[in-house]
Symmetry: C5
Subunit: 104 residues, 5 copies
C-alpha cells in the first residue's frame, strides 16, 4: 500500500456496467515524510474519504478485495484514512494536530 | 486507474483465439492536469471510446473484469470516458466546454 | 498491452516442469512511434511470431489467458502480430509497405 | 520479493472492514548491499517484525497468501525477517553481528 | 520474464508458515546483452539454480505457478536456467563456451 492525498473527484458518465455506483477519487502520491510527491492514481473509495485527507490505497487484484470493489474493473482502492505514522519513533504525520494543507 | 487519451486504433490479424473480436486502442498517458504525458498503452475498449477522448483505464487482472474482456489475455482496458475532474475544488478537465486538442 | 519487436529466441533446458514445450522469445520494447525503445521482456509465444515482427504482448496474470500459457509460470505472452496502427488518423506503423528494420 | 527495513507503524482508524485487525508497518526499501534506498511501502505484518529489522516483503496478489492477509485488500506483506544474505560467497548483511542502524 | 544472475542465498528463520521449505535466492538483473544491470529481486528457486548462473524469473501471480511455489506468498520465481539466447541471429549469451563472470 502507499500513502496518497485525496485531490478531487472524477466523473465518468459513459462507463462499463461493472463500474456503476463507484465513487472515483483522484489521489496524489504522498512520500514517507508526508509530502506530496510525483504521480497520481484514480482510486475507488471504499471508506468515504474526504478532500485533502491522507489515505492508504492498494493496487492490483488486491484493490478488488473490498465489498464495493468486488469483481469490478478497478485496479486501485482507498481502504483507509490515515491518522498517524512514525519513523524511528518520531511522529511524521498526524491527521488532527497539524492542519492538512489544501494545495494539492 | 489512470487517465489516457485515445490516440488511434491497433490492427492485428494474426492473434491468439481468445483475443478475437476485441477493439484495441492506442492510449497516450495523460497527467493529473489533463496534459499528454510520457508513455502509452494498448487497451481493449469496453465502452466505445472515440478518437481524442480522455478515458479511464485499468491494468492487470482488473482489466479482465468487464464483459468484453473476461478470461482474455488483456492487461489493460478502457472502462470509462471521463467527463470532468477537479483538484482542490477547481475544475482541471472538462470534456465539453474546452475543445479537446487532437495533437496526440 | 505494449508493442515489442521479436529479437531472438531463448533456450533453457533446465526448467520447471510447467514450463516445458513453450517457445520463449526475447522481445525488445517498441514505442508508440514504432521505434525501438529501452527495455526487453522474455515472452511466451502464442501466435508463431517471426524474427523482427512487431507484436503485442500482455503481462501479469493476463499472460496466462491463452491456451498455451494456461496455468504456467509465465508473466508475459505474445498474443498478436501487429499489422498497423495510427495516431490521430495518420498511419504510424505498417507491417507490409515499409520494410521492417532488422537492427534490434 | 524485496528487502526492506521496518521504519514505523501506520495507524488508520477509519478503514474498510476487511482491513480490521491487521498490523500495518511502514517499510523503507533496502538495496542488495543492505543500504537504505529510495522508496517505501506500507505492508501488512505476518511475522511480528520489529522496528529497524530488515525484512522480506512480497507484493501483488502474492501478498494475500498468508493466514493474516487472506482475502484482504492488502498488496504488500512482510513474510520474513532476514538473518543474512551473501553476494558471490561474501556475507553482505547479517542481523546479529553488525548493529542495525536506526536512522531510517 | 526477465534474465537474472544468481548472486547469493537469503536466510530468514523467522517467517510466515507458508514460506517454510523454500530456497530463496538473491538475483541481480541482467540486460538483453547479458550484462549485469541495476536492480535485484529475491526469488524462490524451482529448478536448483547455482551461484553465478543466468536464469529466467517470473514475477507476480505467475510466480505461484510451479509445484514449489503454489499458494505461497512468493512474487518472484526462478523457473529456468538459461543456456543461450540470440539477437537478430547472433548469439548474445551462451552458458558453456564463455566463462560466467563471478563479480556480481
Amino acid at each position: 500500500m502507499l500513502f496518497g492525498r485525496v485531490a478531487g473527484t472524477v466523473v465518468a458518465t459513459k462507463k462499463t456496467s461493472t463500474l456503476e455506483g463507484l465513487k472515483l477519487l483522484l489521489v496524489r502520491n504522498v512520500d514517507a515524510q508526508g509530502r506530496d510527491a510525483a504521480g497520481y492514481v484514480v482510486a475507488a473509495d471504499s471508506v468515504g474519504a474526504g478532500l485533502g485527507e491522507v489515505v492508504l490505497y492498494a493496487t492490483g487484484s488486491s484493490a478488488r478485495q473490498t465489498e464495493v470493489t468486488d469483481k469490478r474493473p478497478v485496479d486501485a482502492v482507498i481502504m483507509g484514512v490515515v491518522d498517524t505514522w512514525d519513523i524511528g519513533g518520531e511522529t511524521v504525520y498526524e491527521k488532527y494536530p497539524s492542519a492538512v494543507t489544501a494545495d494539492v
